[in-house]
């Protein structure tokens, strides 16, 4: 059964019990009030019967006193007063007595009194008033008065006894009701305690225990035990909640499995990435005396750059320098950069001119995709006389910085990836003491907080200031200055390669 329905039933049962107890209480209290009232009335009645008896006594005493005192009128006062009092009391009693039997008893008393007055008291008083004192006295001594009044006494005694019995009965009834009331209170208390216990037990069984169970299961799941299903025994609502929680557990578990798979995949590709990166680093061969060379690549994001460079000795006395910038970053671009570098290297090693090397590479790469292209600076330097043969495929110009001269090695053809190929090989010279610097656009397009570019001018200035230094020191200074210029970090890969000819 639904928890909602169970709780509703429990609530209805409690309300019904409270109503029943309330009705029982009201009824019993009213009974008690009635019994109390009746008992009080009967007590008063007992009292009045006693007063009635006294009033009759007074009448008899007064009447006898009047006759025996030879007609002293004041003796008749108690007789008259008692008569009036008796009449009043009789009327009150008649109204108060609620049982026909008692009323009949009262009637008998009244009749007996009437008989006595008619046949004894009234004739005796009449004889006395008529002056026949002797006759009156004789009638008192021998007449029916004594017997008649004994009749009054008997009737009175019966009435008094009956009324007292009734009063006692009423008292007992009241006592009964009172003890009944006490029992009722005890019973209510007991039922209330039992009800509370039962309701508590039911709520614990229906609500608290399933929730505790669910909480324990959820805690278990939270601590990582996601494999075993979450289930609880309880009312349908909580069971369905548990089902939902279990579905969530399943979902989390699935996500966890998937993310674990992705993590493994990333770990695997990270290994590839690290390998790639080390492959992108240059292999510097034997460097002829009088020359130093160095290069550095600062990747913008991740560990794989779209830039790469290479510096190596091709044949005796010749150094090759390659700087490639693929549009974009990431593993795909990194692989493309690596392929490109290898192709250029192979071509240069087999004796091709820089322009020819670019032609061959572009031919093999073909159309790499709508937006995929690369720029490259390729140079072969004769270390004997400083002659530089170079080809520039849409790449920012490399600089040969001398004492008071700056030669820009401008593009000799378009970037690689456009439809039309064609790269010439041009020549320049590195005089003793001069530097050759090739770089990628990420270096000069670095911006500072004011959105200013680092620009080629700053680079040239730096190179002029670093004339006749070791290549390693120039590269370090170049990277340091760029990083200092752009405290927020580089947005693009930045590469700088420097070749210095000693004086």
């Amino acid at each position: 059964m639904l928890l909602r329905r169970r709780l509703l039933l429990l609530f209805v049962a409690i309300v019904a019990a409270v109503l029943a107890v309330g009705v029982l209480m009201v009824v019993t209290l009213r009974d008690r009030d009635d019994a109390q009232q009746r008992e009080r009335k009967l007590s008063v009645t007992v009292e009045r019967v006693a007063q009635l008896m006294a009033a009759h006594g007074d009448q008899e005493t007064g009447e006898r006193g009047y006759v025996l005192s030879n007609g002293v009128e004041t003796f008749l006062n108690p007789y008259e007063i008692g008569r009036a009092t008796a009449g009043k009391l009789t009327a009150q009693l008649r109204a108060a007595l609620d049982r026909p039997g008692l009323r009949r008893d009262l009637d008998r008393v009244t009749e007996a009194v009437a008989d006595w007055r008619r046949d004894a008291a009234a004739p005796e008083i009449a004889l006395m008033r008529a002056g026949n004192a002797e006759g009156a006295a004789t009638r008192i001594a021998d007449g029916p008065g004594k017997e008649l009044f004994d009749g009054v006494r008997r009737a009175q005694a019966t009435l008094a006894q009956r009324v007292q019995t009734e009063d006692l009965r009423a008292q007992r009834h009241l006592d009964d009701i009172r003890s009944q009331l006490t029992n009722l209170f005890v019973a209510i208390a007991a039922v209330a305690i039992a009800g509370a216990v039962v309701a508590g037990w039911l709520i614990r069984r229906w609500v608290t225990r399933p929730i505790d169970q669910l909480a324990a299961e959820v805690r278990r799941a939270r601590s990582g035990a996601l494999d075993s299903p979450i289930q609880i025994s309880g009312p349908p609502e909580l069971a369905s909640l548990a089902l939902d929680v279990d579905a969530m557990r399943g979902y989390i578990r699935q996500q966890l499995v998937e993310s674990e798979r992705s993590r493994q995949a990333v770990e695997q590709s990270a290994a590839v990435v690290l390998t790639l990166r080390s492959e992108l680093e240059p292999v510097v061969g034997d460097i002829p005396d009088g020359w130093t060379m160095a290069g550095r690549l600062r990747a913008a994001e991740g560990v794989v750059a779209g830039d790469c460079y290479d510096l190596f000795a091709t044949r005796s006395g010749e150094i090759a320098l390659i700087v490639v910038d693929i549009a974009g970053h990431g593993a795909t671009e990194g692989i493309l950069a690596l392929r490109c570098k290898e192709m250029l290297r192979t071509a240069l090693t087999s004796g091709a001119s820089p322009g020819e090397a670019l032609e061959t590479t572009a031919e093999i790469l073909g159309d790499m995709g709508d937006e995929v292209f690369l720029t490259a600076f390729v140079a072969a330097i004769d270390t004997a006389d400083g002659t530089v043969r170079f080809a520039n495929a849409g790449h920012p110009p490399a600089y040969i910085v001398g004492d008071d001269s700056v030669v820009a090695l401008e593009p000799t053809g378009p970037l690689v990836g456009l439809l039309v190929p064609g790269w010439k090989t041009a020549e320049a010279t590195i005089a003793p003491g001069d530097n050759l610097c090739a770089y990628t656009d990420g270096l000069i397009e670095t911006r500072n907080g004011d959105n200013e570019f680092f620009g080629p001018e700053r680079l040239v200035e730096l190179l002029q200031g670093a004339r006749c230094s070791e290549a390693q020191a120039v590269v370090k200074r170049g990277i340091d200055e760029v990083e200092l210029f752009s405290p927020d970090g580089l947005r693009d890969d930045a590469t700088i390669v420097v070749l210095c000819r000693a004086e």
């Binding site: 549009a327 937006e371 495929a393 593009p411 053809g413 378009p414 970037l415 456009l418 039309v420």
Partner: protein, 103 residues
């Protein structure tokens, strides 16, 4: 933060786009989406008003190359009045050979 504003108007078989701001790695996709949508919509001649173009990096070059390739031999891509430094980039990379540049 570099911002890019684009405002395009289409005519019978062409479209003109006013390009203001900077085209870099962050904004290049915006330019690409706008221009390629025009190409897909049938525009054959596209003219870019480059008077307000402050900066064009290799990502932007990539977009221009992609659009140029999509337009094919019949179409034309014109860059109107690019600033000197942008023009220099276009010339350096050889892209200037494949698009029309007006001053």
């Amino acid at each position: 933060m570099a911002d890019l504003e684009l405002e395009s108007r289409e005519s019978d078989d062409g479209a003109s786009v006013v390009v203001r701001g900077e085209v870099d790695m962050a904004t290049a996709p915006q330019l690409r989406d706008t221009l390629l949508a025009l190409v897909d919509g049938g525009a054959n001649r596209i003219a870019l008003d480059c008077r307000g173009l402050d900066f064009l990096d290799s990502s932007g070059i990539g977009v221009l190359i992609a659009v140029r390739k999509r337009l094919g031999d019949d179409g034309s891509l014109t860059l109107e009045a690019p600033p000197a430094h942008v023009r220099k980039v276009l010339e350096l990379t050889g892209v200037s050979e494949h698009v029309t540049i007006t001053s």
